[in-house]
């Protein structure tokens, strides 16, 4: 079962939030170097899957293994330190902190911020221009870029990115797609994306979550061709 080519293996996890049984068996494998996308309707459990991996809503059952090490039962800060970067939905940057401070907070002992800064500003030149401005003053697209950039400060093994294109203008989405493509050359990505076009451009693999369960997975090109499947679980054509 354990495959050395997978950065992440999530097996049959169940997660409760309060007394609500939100995830009822989610299995996701993320091959090294890939972009894997979680698809599914609103409320299907995609965000909860990412939060369960991150330890923010710890699963009560099932296993989560990052390159051979179990993540279950560990606190979120430890999981982050083990090399998992998290870009939450709704662009949750720190609005009162400057761009510099938003990035600095993610820095760990021994990180070479200079070298990472070159890489990050290469991807997102705007962030360099607004370095000393509060995050709250940035546009929606810039805030999303900051949220992604923040997760790039440490050299993570896996990035969890939740709906990066949500609410952004088409041109901004194009540059974000480009940035995620470039960063995926360095880091494996598990993406949640409602915009099916964006998902199909970026991803190698997909996993469909429906009603708290993973129901289908495979190569994204196969899904693009399977209109019936797309219609059934995603309600888009």
């Amino acid at each position: 079962m354990a495959d050395a080519n997978n950065v992440l293996e999530v097996q049959e996890i169940h997660t409760f939030i309060g007394q609500f049984h939100i995830l009822e068996g989610v299995t996701v494998t993320v091959p090294s170097g890939s972009i894997t996308v979680l698809l599914g309707r609103n409320g299907a459990g995609k965000t909860t899957t990412l939060k369960s991996i991150m330890g923010l809503t710890p699963p009560s059952q099932g296993s989560i293994v990052l390159e051979g090490q179990s993540l279950v039962g560990r606190r979120p800060f430890t999981i982050a330190q083990m090399g998992v970067g998290y870009v939450p939905e709704h662009r949750a940057i720190f609005r009162d902190l400057t761009v510099r401070e938003n990035l600095a907070i993610a820095q760990r002992k021994g990180d070479d911020l200079e070298r990472r800064a070159d890489f990050i500003f290469g991807l997102f030149p705007d962030l360099k221009r607004f370095y000393n401005l509060p995050g709250g003053n940035l546009s929606g697209g810039q805030q999303q870029m900051l949220a992604v950039a923040r997760a790039l400060v440490p050299e993570n093994r896996l990035l969890l990115i939740d709906e990066p294109s949500e609410g952004l203008a088409p041109v901004i989405i194009e540059s974000l797609i480009e940035a995620i493509r470039r960063l995926s050359a360095q880091t494996t990505v598990l993406l949640v994306e409602q915009n099916f076009r964006v998902a199909s451009i970026l991803a190698d693999r997909y996993v469909i979550i429906d009603d708290g369960r993973s129901v289908v997975s495979g190569q994204i090109q196969d899904l693009v061709q399977d209109e019936a499947l797309v219609q059934r679980y995603l309600g888009v054509a």
């Binding site: 991150m54 800060f77 949750a92 720190f94 401070e101 600095a104 907070i105 993610a106 923040r150």
Partner: protein, 332 residues
């Protein structure tokens, strides 16, 4: 931006209003006006030392620490009793006071750490229980102080280090205690120091980020629980420090806890929950309001009770007129 300018105008208007009111009612007696002003600044500095912890702890951890006043009181009692303890009389008087303050501050901090680690941490999933718990702890601390030191309050003896306590300075033909000025200076120094800590250091960035979204801070690899313990400890230590430096002037008594907790709550609400700048400015505004109204009430109404209910009246007014406070977020 518009709102920020409005806020500063409001602060200016209220402050000037209070000063004019005080000036007019002191009927041209500059000495009396000066005393009220100094008394307001003195109270403001002490309110800040209680309110700063209250505000940062609330912003970061969503805990309204009702025991914050008790820590102030503990600082005062510890410093008082070490300074006056017979066994320690051999220590030079100029050393005894700073040592007493240090001990009061450290004991306050340690008791803060115990409260957070031992009692609050298991209850992070149940905020209402935490509120009830800090309330209970405040009562327990009060009873413990009563058991150790009795119900009678203590007035500071006339001896103090560096002669600070006795020394006076004169303005407008009136004598003012230098010690109050010293407390004001210490308060201002701490406003700057804590402000620098929040703005310039890594832990400060973490605290400010945590006030916005502590879950996200944790997801970036920072042990937020350890930060909680540290902030709670420091917040209690600063309150105890306030009690410690207040002791030479106010002595130590069981009424101190509430006398400083209630204004501090008013300060935090006035300043806007979680706003450091608001807490600093709000402290001096509430201090001034209490001093002005106390003076007015004792001189014209023959009723000192107005002074003690002023913080609560202010709190109610703020909640009715501007619930988000001066610098609070419009909605959260």
């Amino acid at each position: 931006m518009q709102r920020t300018r409005g806020t500063y105008m409001l602060i200016l208007t209220l402050t000037v209003g209070l000063l004019v009111f005080s000036f007019v009612t002191s009927a041209g007696d500059l000495g009396s006006f000066g005393t009220t002003l100094l008394s307001g600044l003195f109270l403001g500095a002490l309110y800040f030392l209680v309110a700063s912890g209250l505000s940062i702890i609330f912003g970061l951890m969503d805990i309204l620490n009702f025991a914050q006043g008790a820590y102030f009181m503990i600082g005062a009692y510890v410093t008082y009793s070490l300074f006056h303890m017979d066994a320690l009389k051999g220590i030079d008087v100029n050393l005894r006071f700073p040592l007493g303050v240090l001990a009061g501050t450290i004991i306050g901090g340690l008791l803060g750490a115990v409260l957070e680690r031992g009692l609050l941490r298991p209850l992070y999933a149940r905020p209402i229980f935490q509120l009830v718990l800090t309330f209970g702890v405040a009562i327990v601390f009060g009873e413990a102080l009563k058991a150790i030191w009795g119900t009678e309050g203590y007035g500071w003896s006339t001896v103090t280090s560096f002669g600070i306590h006795q020394s006076q300075f004169e303005i407008f033909g009136r004598q003012f205690g230098s010690y109050r000025l010293f407390v004001v200076a210490v308060g201002v120094a701490l406003i700057v120091l804590i402000g620098l800590l929040l703005q310039r250091t890594r832990i400060g960035i973490i605290i400010r980020a945590g006030v916005e979204d502590s879950e996200m801070v944790e997801a970036l690899g920072i042990n937020v629980r350890a930060v909680f313990t540290m902030v709670f400890t420091l917040g209690c230590a600063v309150a105890a420090f306030g009690g410690a430096i207040a002791a030479p002037f106010l002595g130590a008594n069981l009424g101190m806890g509430n006398a400083f907790l209630l204004p501090a709550i008013a300060v935090v609400v006035l300043g806007g929950l979680g706003s450091y700048m608001g807490t600093a400015i709000g402290s001096f505004m509430v201090g001034l309001a209490v001093a002005v109204i106390a003076r007015f009430a004792s001189e014209f109404l023959n009723q000192t009770v107005w002074a003690s209910i002023t913080p609560m009246l202010l709190l109610i007014l703020i909640l009715l007129l501007r619930p988000s406070g001066l610098f609070g977020k419009e909605s959260r």
